[in-house]
Symmetry: C2
Subunit: 90 residues, 2 copies
DNA sequence: GCCACAATTCGATCATGGTCGAATCGATGA
DNA sequence: TCATCGATTCGACCATGATCGAATTGTGGC
């Protein structure tokens, strides 16, 4: 799945935005953000991890998620802004 | 289909980028840009029209496509940049 | 060691989007 | 009026991604 397709999903987008805003969050904190069942949340978090956009760390029973350090560059590469389109307009 | 999902497709992204770069183009000019069969190109152009990102105009047998005037705003709303994520980082 | 909790994984199924081959439509030229 | 062209639409099918219900795994407390 391309990075663009990864972030084009509203659930994953909300998760990324929350991690960007608040730094590290555990899965239980992300549950209300994702607004999906726990197993579906795990699925989306795995997609984000596989895309290199977030990292995870065990903390006892809990797992903490953080925006990956290269996430901004990956997003910038995958997500040209509307400005790129506007800048190229005649 | 959300605007984000609309532009997350590589075919449609290429079409938008071409129209942003060159203004108006007819379907036959967009054929090599889309890199898909003519009927599939029509399908993607319809998705872009329905999303309000492009407009079309008949010119005899030909149909011209142009980036819609509100496309930049729609894209900006749907496509937050990585900078938005970075700006919100702690 | 057992139980509860947090989190993940699994196989099956569902839903949506994309492609296919063919047909249709509208415009143009002879 | 007919044939051709550019473009679109159609119904069927395919492919991929998302959800579901259940099971599993790892950790911590007693």
């Amino acid at each position: 799945m391309s990075t663009l397709a990864v972030v084009a999903d509203p659930v994953r987008w909300r998760l990324l935005a929350e991690l960007a805003r608040s730094g590290t969050r555990c899965v239980c904190d992300l549950q209300p953000v994702g607004q999906v069942a726990p197993n579906v949340l795990s699925y989306h978090l795995k997609v984000l991890r596989d895309a290199g956009l977030v990292t995870s760390a065990k903390r006892g029973r809990w797992v903490d998620y953080t925006l990956a350090s290269g996430a901004a560059d990956r997003l910038r590469a995958a997500l040209p802004t509307a400005d790129v389109l506007v800048a190229n307009s005649p």
